[in-house]
Symmetry: none
DNA sequence: AATGAATGAGACTTCATTCAT
DNA sequence: TATGAATGAAGTCTCATTCAT
């Protein structure tokens, strides 16, 4: 027997259900059934529904982070790195619509508030650090606009959410061609114009 | 007293509570108490909690739409109009954080899904029409990038949500100076570069 | 409509069920059904099961206290008063076996612990005060043994619980004759012997 | 290690936990952990939680019985034997507060009901027999009041429970002096007065 | 013989909705 | 028209018990 894969099974079931029905549209009973475990089993690994949802965040964030850093090199130019990160992020979200839907909901929930508090205190370790570093270097090199980091975040990453959402809901077909153009446009938003 | 201002009273009470506690953190009893009406009274005007929430969307959207069109002139350039609309939108959201919080939650909820379905069918009347028209004209004039309207939406408006959120959560102070720069950056994102 | 007799109906239903099944053998659903109200109704009047159980204590204690003080006169001798109080108490418990069973369980539960803490702090107002006064006067008059009040409590009232229990469980038939003899024996326990 | 001391370890762990948290505040998992055995192991020796609790009663009762009979001689007077038994009982309970708390809870629980049923059928073997014998002899010798045995039980033993409880909860310090006086008072309750 | 992960019935509690007043 | 007490379905969570290892 594996060293218990139950937690993962539960998280995957929850991901699928939450993507479709939202945090509050999903009951622990639904998750248990989809995961094919007893309800009590969920509570062996997650102290409460809230804890489960928060743990899911960490798991998903980690998956994304791993993907972003994969084949990421600090030796290329700021622009190249920006293109790589944003393209990878868009593609990841498109290919993992369940995780995308989950993250969207998480950020707009009471759970997400505590998360944002961490940002300002800078004690959060996660996917955003790589962007932060990149933006800071870009400013120093005078390649990026001299704006607060948080604004560069909004300019560079803000369009991704509605973009991906449109694709996931089939309002738009984001092929590689279109992704490339969209990323270029994001770059136009953050880069300095002479 | 007007014929009945009860519906508005209810909506304002709901707005305030939802901004703070989220859709599911607010009960009909809480709304009734804050609005100082009986619970049954809410049901006289709104068939269900879901209907109330959806009606709120229309009300808020309309308020925003009115503000956007106020002093909006089709006789100015695409760029001027873009600046006017985006600036006005940011300022409105900053000055009406309750409505902003509400809209954010709405879009990321099961309610929001039905809403987006309407977009593709083009049978939605609302604030987005004015942007759509503007973008279409901008493309025709070769001032804007030649991309699908939906992508221009994402590029031009996508940064606004995280931007405003950062301000509302006091992670960032968006003064007029900063707003201007942010709008310019959004413009850089959508405009055509020679 | 009466000014809502629901709380009383609930308490009576709970009393009956708890007497038979114990605190933990009774579910809120059982109480609701026996009281012929919805489960939610119970929560309108009692914030939780714990609160319900504690409120029941106050109600029962008050009923007993009222009965004890009925036709109680401070103008009679200590002995007469002792006989009156103890006899009345036994008879009350025999005639209200549900309340007796409830009180028994209450005192031997986590709920009862807090109750006893009050005793020592002397800030409890209740049926025991009348006994306390009586015992103190009896000591002063040198009619009762010169022992700590708490010990007189145990000597004078301690036999009542098993006595009543035996009667309630039909192990013994406590008629007036026997009650009188038992009270005399209790008196022998607390009184001073020359 | 003996053939298996597991049952005793389990019972001692249960005793400690139940004294503090009550029957229903203690889960089998808690007992297993405190006893340092697996949960399944408990079920090897006790068919269910109910059985465990009932077995504990027998064990505790036996320990008390053994103590009572230790240095008990039928050759002394009824009075001497009464003093010996009651004193020993009080001291045992004071020195074994866990067992005392357990017994208290047991008697006031659904478990205790079945137990009392046995009394009337006289098919119970236990600590009470020695008292029964003593009381019967006392009546015959006209030393004790001519009352039903059960009433003498209540008079002679009834005060012990609240007395010990007050001591255990530190409302009262029962030293040897006080114990002696309390036992004398109990004796006054049951003995015949000329 | 011993373990403890897994189970799921059932407990407490909330809240959208109804309806008699 | 307005009210809010009443309802009960449904949600989260616990824990006695089982069984594969």
């Amino acid at each position: 027997m594996k060293d218990s894969d139950k937690p993962d099974v539960v998280i995957d079931a929850a991901l699928e259900l939450i993507a479709e029905h939202g945090f509050h549209g999903v009951s622990m009973a639904m998750i248990a059934e989809k995961a094919d475990v007893g309800m009590g089993t969920i509570y062996r690994y997650f102290a409460s529904k809230d804890v489960l949802i928060s743990e899911m965040y960490k798991v998903v964030e980690n998956r994304i982070y791993k993907t972003l850093l994969d084949s990421y090199s600090k030796d290329t130019s700021v622009k190249e790195r920006f293109f790589h990160l944003i393209s990878t992020l868009i593609k990841y979200m498109i290919n993992h619509p369940l995780e995308f839907r989950y993250m969207e909901q998480y950020h707009n929930s009471p759970y997400g508030v505590a998360f944002r508090k961490n940002l300002i205190l800078n004690n959060h370790q996660g996917e955003l650090d790589v962007f932060k570093e990149l933006f800071q270097e870009g400013i120093k090199q005078k390649v990026l606009k001299d704006l607060p980091i948080l604004i560069l975040f909004s300019l560079g990453l803000g369009p991704l959410v509605p973009l991906t959402r449109d694709h996931v809901f089939s309002l738009l077909l984001l092929d590689n061609e279109l992704i490339k153009k969209a990323v270029e446009a994001c770059w136009d938003g953050v880069r300095r114009h002479t």
